[in-house]
């Protein structure tokens, strides 16, 4: 088991592109941290630096109590699961799982025992003699997990391990991975571009954008108190409503609707989660609903308020009617951002 800490870790690719801007954070022992962000924001680069597959341009990376900047991947006591599984196509499942142990010169009998144990944990015992090409996507992903588990590492690294699976299997594997990590208690860093995965799996989320860390926090913190408009719109589906407003004489207004209080006179971006707006015939928001999305368990109303697009999350009993409605905002549900920098105020 191990903590991981990054101290101003930075990555500049040989072509001069700064894929990761100086980043500092600390991952506690046994913690499950999810790195999330849009494609190309540098998540994989960050993970690969931790794995040792990519050189660290600047800064210090510590795993356990060792600075490992110059340590080989094989000696970092880590295991990694890749998006496309990266199984050795010519080896059986058992050989795939045991290959790392074999390279560590562990006796064959011990390898067999450990492979058996991992296979049992992952429901793979019937497939040990198959080649990866004879397995389904989910089974392949389990083999990749098995390869990680048998090494008994102090750190698991996952790079979008579920992206190649269909939605149903993805949900199931998500739970399995999370349960497995809980059971083994191994510190884990999990990269994904899927905010649902991030929210459901993480102890803490690190949101990245264009090589920069936007926010580090628990899923609830990230969701309810986004540190920037980027986080506000990236996390959550549908995303947070972002409206242009202005604070004057202590009141924040969007158009002529008063939404909140703020002491300083200035322009603002006002963020409200769709589920924090409730239809209410006495509410002071007037919304023109133009489209309704039926999602079974609930509905989404898309419309306009004071010329701003607005999405409202309502229960399944809300009438399926477009047109004029009134709504209110739940208390303490408004986030305020600086319109220029996008930073939370």
């Amino acid at each position: 088991m191990a903590q991981v800490s990054l101290n101003n870790v930075r990555k500049v690719y040989p072509n001069g592109f700064e894929a990761v801007k100086p980043a500092s954070f600390r991952i506690e022992d046994g913690e499950f941290v999810v790195l999330v962000g849009p494609s190309g924001c540098g998540k994989s680069t960050m993970l690969r630096m931790i794995a040792g597959l990519e050189d660290i341009s600047d800064g210090a990376l510590t795993i356990g109590d060792r600075v490992v900047n110059d340590v080989d991947p094989a000696d970092r006591d880590i295991a990694m699961v890749f998006q496309n599984y990266a199984l050795y196509p010519h080896m059986t499942v058992a050989k795939n799982i045991g290959y790392g142990l074999k390279n560590r010169k562990i006796p064959a009998a011990d390898i067999a025992a450990k492979v058996q144990e991992a296979a049992t944990m992952l429901n793979l015992t019937d497939y040990l003699d198959r080649k990866p090409s004879q397995l389904s996507g989910g089974q392949r992903q389990r083999v990749a997990m098995g390869r990680a588990i048998v090494r008994d590492p102090s750190l698991f690294l996952f790079d979008e391990p579920l992206s190649n699976l269909d939605a149903k299997l993805r949900n199931q594997m998500r739970i399995e991975i999370k349960a497995l990590q809980r059971r083994l208690g191994v510190t884990s860093v999990y990269v994904t571009h899927d905010q649902v995965e991030a929210m459901t799996m993480a102890d803490r989320i690190i949101v990245m954008n264009a090589g920069r860390i936007e926010q580090i926090g628990t899923p609830a913190e990230v969701y309810h108190s986004p540190a920037s408009t980027f986080v506000a719109s990236f996390m959550g589906a549908p995303p947070m409503n972002l409206l242009t407003g202005r604070a004057e004489a202590g009141r924040v207004r969007v158009g002529n609707v008063m939404l909140h209080q703020h002491h300083e006179d200035r322009d603002l971006t006002v963020g409200i989660r769709p589920e924090d707006i409730i239809p209410d015939s006495h509410g002071h928001l007037e919304v023109e609903v133009t489209l309704i999305e039926e999602l079974g368990a609930h509905r989404l109303l898309h419309g306009q308020m004071q010329g701003h697009p607005l999405t409202i999350h309502v229960g399944k009993d809300h009438p399926v009617e477009t047109g004029h409605i009134r709504a209110a905002i739940k208390p303490n549900a408004v986030s305020l951002f600086d319109p220029a920098s996008g930073v939370r105020l």
Partner: protein, 286 residues
């Protein structure tokens, strides 16, 4: 009449072309067989024909065990053995060297890897025939005339094999390399445990091409081997047809049978590796 059974002139044409083509391919082999089955006198008088004789065993005996010249070393068996060494040495050598060169170029951060690759590639423009004099001189100075090393080594570097293995290695996903690194496989382990088994089908394909190429070498063995014990089949057959002089009867039966024997190993190699090919293509995926 159903559509599928309709008579189509285009099908007739297609098949005619195929049949004529295969006849053209097979006819020389039939001629060889025919001449190998009759006496030399018969062939001398009548030329190749359609009548097969009963001389096959006699001619086979001569082809395999009769030797010409002074030393008596160039029997068919000996030449077959030499050709085998050349074919296998050539193919295995080219594959080993080509794979290792491609491995270095693709997987290691060499300073001038791309340049090196293109230099190797341009040697395609310099086949043996172009550089035969300097090559000969080098082999001669190294004292490798009339040796297997002299036959094989100067031809062993292969731009073709290097090129194909390079293309193949580049198609192997990066993650596989990285997974292996994390699994603690060093450069040699990765090569032996992962790259070589993954390259099976490529190796088989290269083996076919290179074996046949080596087996069919004529010019180089002719220059390098002067001792009869070192003759290869392809060179030796020429020698036999050349020893016809004066009133001697040309040994049609013997030389034609040797020619058939010379065709067989490449055919067998192709057949053997073809089944491997199909297996490799259907069973494994990258």
């Amino acid at each position: 009449m159903s559509v599928s059974k309709r008579f189509r002139w285009s099908a007739v044409l297609d098949h005619s072309i195929l049949i004529i083509g295969s006849l053209i391919m097979i006819l020389p082999v039939v001629m060889l067989l025919q001449m190998a089955s009759t006496t030399d006198i018969h062939t001398m008088k009548n030329g190749p024909g359609l009548i097969f004789g009963d001389q096959l065993p006699v001619n086979f005996e001569k082809a395999m065990f009769k030797a010409d010249g002074f030393t008596g070393a160039n029997t068919g068996v000996r030449m077959l053995y030499n050709s085998m060494i050349l074919g296998f040495g050539f193919a295995i050598g080219k594959i080993v060297i080509g794979m290792m060169a491609a491995y270095a170029i693709v997987y290691f951060r060499l300073r001038f890897a791309t340049l090196a690759f293109w230099v190797i590639f341009t040697t395609l423009l310099l086949p043996l025939e172009v550089r035969i004099l300097p090559s000969y001189e080098i082999v001669q100075r190294l004292g490798m005339l009339n040796t297997y090393q002299g036959l094989i080594i100067p031809l062993i570097a292969s731009a073709t094999a290097t090129f194909f293995f390079r293309q193949f290695f580049r198609s192997i996903p990066e993650e596989l390399v990285e997974a292996a690194r994390i699994d603690g496989a060093g450069p040699i382990k990765f090569f032996v445990d992962i790259l070589v088994p993954l390259s099976r089908t490529m190796i088989a394909a290269m083996f076919i091409i290179m074996f046949v190429y080596g087996w069919n070498q004529y010019l180089w063995p002719t220059m390098i081997t002067t001792e009869e014990g070192m003759f290869t089949l392809v060179r030796g057959i020429k020698q036999i047809t050349q020893t016809l002089e004066g009133t001697n009867l040309p040994e049609y039966g013997r030389s034609n049978l040797l020619a058939i024997i010379a065709i067989l190993p490449p055919v067998l190699i192709v057949i053997f590796f073809q089944s491997w090919f199909v297996k490799g293509l259907t069973e494994s995926d990258k």
